[in-house]
Symmetry: C2
Subunit: 137 residues, 2 copies
DNA sequence: TTATTAGTATGTACTCATTACAATAATATA
DNA sequence: TATATTATTGTAATGAGTACATACTAATAA
């Protein structure tokens, strides 16, 4: 199964009609580690889909998050970043360059207390600091 | 040492001149579990300080965060929430009512991989889901 | 005390991400 | 085909946050 088919079947599995915009946006999210913003997604796809509007990007990423095909992160700048990697992993944002990095984290080992009567649907681990690249400058 | 003295000495310890606005804002943050936004802080303190402007609240909470006297959380709505409890603890935001709750978490047990060359200065654990109150409706 | 200065607070205008909405285009169904 | 439904677009509005110039306050010096 190639990239496009994979995106299409993912969308179909969530009963989302696989339009060009949706396929391309999901594909783009699936093949980047950048955790892009709406602005970045729009800019990146505009050459391929010249008619793509930001409104569509906003709507589509909202749809993907709601369907569980992507996750939403808020960075330092209070801008929404999107990530098609929905597996358990932590995020590190560099306070100097703003880049968001993935890291492995064992959430199963995390002991919490006080959430007995809560229905937890989403677990985020978000670290901040300086990345190696910025540290070496 | 009473509330006011405590806020004053906290500010002094960070070389921040304890003006009325700063004392009241820090005090308010220290005695609420609400994780208020700038809007909420401003509304709550306006009766006591009728001349308090939002610009001052923005500036002051920024100052407090920079000094390490408060922490900044981004909720679902991409609005900044402030918390004077700077001890290690996790946050849970209810996706229905928007309320942010504290919970105990043992961050020391959290195993991470891939951050060896990063300088981590801030660790956040952020969960989402439904709170007991919303679940019982 | 008054004058000078630095630090603090205020109001306003602005930026910009996000949302709302109505109009248009595309797609599915009959 | 015609008709209904869904998707996309452009634009206007919203609202959090920032920038900045002005006004105010408090500390220090003369
Ligand atoms: Mn990620
Ligand atoms: Mn808290
Ligand atoms: Zn960096
Ligand atoms: Zn709730």
């Amino acid at each position: 199964m190639n990239k496009v088919e994979s995106a299409i079947s993912l969308l179909r599995s969530k009963s989302i009609r696989p339009s060009i915009a949706r396929i391309k946006i999901l594909e783009y999210l699936s093949h980047t580690t950048e955790h892009p913003t709406v602005e970045m997604i729009h800019t990146s796809l505009l050459p391929a889909i010249p008619t793509l509007s930001k409104a569509t990007v906003y709507k589509t990423v909202g749809l993907l998050v709601e369907a569980g095909l992507a996750r939403l992160l808020y960075g330092e700048d209070c801008e929404a970043h999107y990530d098609a990697d929905i597996s358990d992993h932590g995020h590190f944002q560099c306070t100097r360059c703003g880049k968001i990095y993935d890291f492995a984290v064992n959430l199963a080992l995390l002991e919490t207390e006080g959430l007995e009567r809560f229905a937890v649907t989403e677990r985020n681990v978000f670290f901040r600091g300086a990345c190696p690249r910025c540290l070496s400058e």
